[in-house]
């Protein structure tokens, strides 16, 4: 899972045991990034 720290704006990889915390600045607010895949949408 790739997240972005809302304070230092760095990419963060979360693992199961580390808890929700930025390893660089310790900030606890992480934002989930949009997946870099092409998304197909039907126009209906």
């Amino acid at each position: 899972m790739s997240y972005k720290c809302s304070r230092c704006k760095r990419d963060v990889e979360l693992d199961e045991y580390g808890g929700v915390r930025c390893p660089y600045c310790g900030h606890r607010v992480l934002l989930k990034e949009r997946a870099p895949v092409v998304k197909e949408v039907d126009v209906r």
């Binding site: 092409v38 998304k39 197909e40 039907d42 126009v43």
Partner: protein
Amino acid sequence: MADDFDVEVISRDEDGRSARFLVRGLTPAMANGIRRAVVADVPTLSIDTVRFVENSSVMFDEMVALRLGLVPLTTPLDDFELGDTVTLALDVEGPATAYSGDLETSDSLVRPADENIPIIELKQGQRLEFEADAVLDTGKDHAKHQGGVAVGYRHLQRVEVLGDRDGFDEEEPHILRGVIETDEGELVHTEEFGADLTNRYPGKELAVTDVPDAFVFHVETDGSMDVDELVLRAVDSLRDRADELATKVAV
């Protein structure tokens, strides 16, 4: 019945986007059939699927896609069949507004009918990139495929001057919308005199009657094709279906 139609064009825009014409010898059912065919039976190209590569704008993919579907595309109907697709692409980076004119097409015959339709406003760092498939389909399938917008008809109205009005009567406005036929056989749209008959015939007593079997159509297109082509294609589709019915009913 089919051979005594009489068509007269009353007004027509220079860009071919809208026209007003009179048809005599129609039944109300036929008039409505033509209106419905113009709206629902003439196919136009519209964006149907969008593949988003990047969308960091403030709108969801689905919302952007819905807006894209409503962008009218020029449709050369001689070169396409129902279900044919054309690919379009757009790549705009903020700060800028993505307009319909920014869409690149794979077929030079197909392009946005208007270049200045805003798709979305992008701020610094936002980007919109996608590839889209436009499909040829009819208005029956989805309103985005409607070639005709604001299509309607009215009875032609005959205005007869009966004589001078009683001088003691208060002059009241006589509002009438649509096209009138005067005593001299002239066709005048009431907008020309402010839709008020007392402006054109001051102090006269008038009789307004519907002319039987005469309908004034007003047709406007979304730009995918000329009004002429749109109406002719609609009438063709009506005739084709009538022929199909006739051959299937005949044993």
